[in-house]
């Protein structure tokens, strides 16, 4: 039962009953996510201007340090804080329910922030020049590993609160029927997060002890277990992104769900097949044999790829039917041509789907083939692939949904609206150029995570074809365009949240009103 002090407001737009704690937790997580994005984004610009040999901005030591800062801030801090915000939205808010045990929820948040600060300190002071993967025997200061552990514990708490909120909402009958598809998708993301965080504990706790010289650590075992965390964390991002696709489709064009059964089974496939799929990071490693490699990449291919291909149909299909039912039936593509391309939520959605699928998905499955991996591993083809998936895919979708979160949760208008409208075009366009050119450079053998591809100081000379310099230059320009898009996103969101125009039409606050079962009506 709700406590007497439970405070809700009724959203004038969606008619959802929003718990004050849910509002606060979404805001807190979204703000910290944006700070991490800013740090990671500045680091991205510095890395890019160094890999562009014509500029070669940073020295070797700083390059690897800043690259570590870029990886950790983007792939761990930005994305996971944002996903916590998504969970608080998809759980308590979408289900009209309260956040159970707010003290634990806030403890989780605080632990995540403390862990982040600890890791940032070790990185910025040069005590953790080990890159995002921190492959043993490269060694960081013990507080680097401890910071990650604290962050993970905080995230586990938040994930548990999400699970609890689903139980509470069901028990208190705050909605009728099954949970909405967006909530179901978020649930699968949360389950994968729980699995990921268990892998994280399994690797960072022993590695923390190793960094204190308290136990040995085998380099191959580290890679094996770390990628159990590393790949699974990407599957959280995929599941969260797809949930946001359904959310944005509904908000922008009233997209329908073609078939609940199909979409839900596709989400469940993500859960079942991610952990062992991590094998595709280890295809040219000496510690495992071909049978292990083929089995694990195949049953990943069977199922997780199938799931993505299914969503790749149902999300656009849902948009198409949603538009056709509203009268856009002329020819094959009127539903797309006359869709609201000026709505940054919509343009982000489409770019996210297209670049994730065409560039990220295709390259990922291809490179994740045991033998083809030989011509891809550790070349620029790999970051070319994952910038198309997690940046042009997940981050783009998250940016798009922010333009709705600002009015719906922060109750502010979106500042610099003309800039907001073009932001997705800049970001996605820049990232598309960046990913494709980077992948192309990798086919020439250009290494990833490398400070100087003129190899100055090496005993033997190696000169890449002049085409490589051209492609790397284009990569840098694409990256700068994307960075501009990212910068506009940060400007718009920070300004809106802190200095933006308040929304009119008050929230109808309620205090502990008796609650009749209410359905969450569609955002209209």
């Amino acid at each position: 039962m709700t406590t007497a002090a439970a405070k809700f407001r009724v959203c004038p737009t969606t008619k959802l009953r929003v718990h004050a704690q849910a509002d606060a937790l979404i805001k807190a997580n979204a703000v910290v996510a944006t700070v991490a994005l800013l740090i990671g984004g500045l680091a991205a610009i510095l890395v890019l201007l160094t890999r562009w040999q014509a500029v070669h901005l940073l020295g070797a030591e700083m390059f690897y340090r800043v690259l570590t800062i870029h990886g950790m801030n983007m792939l761990i801090f930005f994305i996971l804080f944002f996903e916590m915000a998504v969970l608080y939205f998809a759980g308590p808010v979408l289900l009209n329910s309260r956040v159970p045990a707010p003290k634990i929820a806030w403890t989780g948040f605080v632990l995540m922030v403390l862990g982040t600060l600890m890791v940032e300190w070790t990185m910025f002071t040069g005590r953790a020049d080990v890159l995002f993967t921190s492959y043993v025997p490269l060694r960081a200061h013990p507080l680097f590993y401890l910071g990650v552990i604290l962050f993970a514990v905080g995230a586990v708490l938040a994930v548990c609160i999400f699970f609890a909120s689903l139980v509470v909402a069901r028990r208190e009958r705050t909605y009728e029927g099954s949970v909405p598809l967006v909530t179901f998708g978020a649930l699968t993301a949360a389950i994968i997060a729980a699995i990921t965080l268990v892998h994280g504990a399994a690797i960072y706790i022993p590695t923390f002890l190793w960094s204190l010289d308290l136990m040995p650590m085998d380099a191959q075992v580290y890679r094996l277990v770390w990628w159990g965390l590393g790949h699974s964390s990407q599957q959280i991002n995929v599941a969260a992104m797809v949930s946001v696709w359904y959310l944005l489709g509904a908000l922008t064009v009233g997209a329908v769900v073609l078939n609940e059964k199909v979409s839900r089974i596709a989400f469940v496939l993500y859960v079942l097949f991610i952990s062992m799929a991590s094998a595709h990071h280890l295809l040219v490693d000496p510690g495992m044999g071909p049978a292990w490699k083929v089995w694990n990449t195949s049953y990943f291919m069977y199922m997780a790829v199938l799931a993505s291909m299914i969503h790749g149909f149902t999300v656009p299909g849902g948009i198409e039917i949603g538009m056709r039912l509203r009268g856009y039936t002329k020819g094959l593509f009127e539903w797309l041509r006359r869709a609201p391309w000026g709505d940054p939520g919509f343009s982000s959605l489409i770019f996210s789907i297209v670049v994730f699928g065409f560039v990220g998905g295709i390259t990922g499955v291809t490179f994740g083939t045991e033998q083809i991996n030989i011509i891809a591993h550790n070349t620029l083809r790999i970051p070319g692939h994952f910038h198309a998936t997690v940046v042009s895919g997940t981050a783009m979708a998250f940016m798009g949904v922010t333009y709705y979160v600002i009015p719906l949760i922060f109750r502010k208008k979106v500042a610099f609206w003309p800039l907001a409208r073009i932001q997705p075009y800049l970001f996605a366009g820049g990232m598309l150029i960046f990913s494709i050119t980077m992948t192309f450079a990798g086919t020439f053998g250009v290494p990833r995570r490398h400070w100087d591809i003129t190899f100055s100081g090496a005993p033997f000379t190696l000169e890449f074809s002049p085409a490589v310099d051209l492609v790397m230059g284009m990569m840098a320009l694409g990256g700068l365009m994307a960075a501009l898009g990212g910068g506009i996103y940060i400007l718009v969101t920070v300004w809106s949240v802190f200095f933006g125009e308040k929304m009119e039409g008050g929230d109808d606050g309620e205090r502990a009103a008796p609650r009749a079962p209410e359905s969450a009506s569609a955002a209209v």
Binding site: S178, P180, A219, Q371, I375, G445, P447, R449
Partner: protein
């Protein structure tokens, strides 16, 4: 029909649209093709990262590599021993911060078992310009059976971050056509016929 934001009412376990079924069937068939390609390539294809794999103590690996170098050295290049091993033999390449050693001189069309390992941290074997990429892990001996397909003067880049001088870690592998005269080498690219393998049989450690 409802959106992803609405809780579906009643029974939502409904029949699937025909076009959706077609797509799922196509996607599933494609996944079967993806699966089948890997075992197929093991049976009929020429490039598989299978190898003969063992755990190995780094110092033991180094000792084997040094013995190998001593037995088959034919010259020196930029301070690195140049080694020309017999066809079909086990050959050794050591990765360490921050170099690859020795310089290998191989014959086209001949199979060797190339043992890769590291003495310290992870390194990345990346053969340029072929773009052959293999992970080199300390404590593990990755014995890949390789048959050089063409003659050439190849470079070996390290593509796994291994510290501040990672970018200086460039090695060299030379492949000659069968029957080419054995030559000694002077720095980086210049070759001169100075001595034969027989004259070198005594070897330099």
């Amino acid at each position: 029909m409802h959106t992803g934001l609405e809780p579906p009412r009643g029974v939502w376990w409904k029949p699937i649209h025909r076009s959706e079924k077609i797509w799922i069937a196509l996607a599933f068939a494609w996944c079967m093709v993806l699966f089948a390609m890997m075992p197929f390539w093991h049976l009929r294809g020429g490039q598989n990262p299978s190898g003969i794999r063992h755990r190995v103590d780094p110092q033991a690996f180094l000792a084997r590599a040094q013995e190998f170098t001593a037995n088959y050295q034919v010259g020196e290049d930029n301070g690195f021993p140049v080694v020309e091993p017999p066809p079909g033999s086990d050959i050794y390449l050591v990765g360490r911060m921050w170099n690859w050693s020795p310089v290998l001189r191989l014959r086209r069309g001949v199979e060797y078992t190339l043992h890769l390992s590291s003495l310290d941290v992870n390194h990345g074997f990346s053969l340029y310009p072929l773009n052959i990429n293999i992970q080199v892990v300390p404590g593990y001996d990755y014995g890949l059976r390789v048959t050089p397909g063409e003659a050439g003067d190849f470079r070996l880049v390290c593509n796994e971050f291994c510290g501040i001088n990672h970018h200086t870690m460039v090695g060299r592998i030379i492949v000659v056509d069968d029957g080419a005269p054995v030559v000694g080498l002077v720095p980086d690219g210049e070759v001169s016929a100075t001595r034969t393998a027989a004259a070198n049989a005594g070897g330099r450690p």
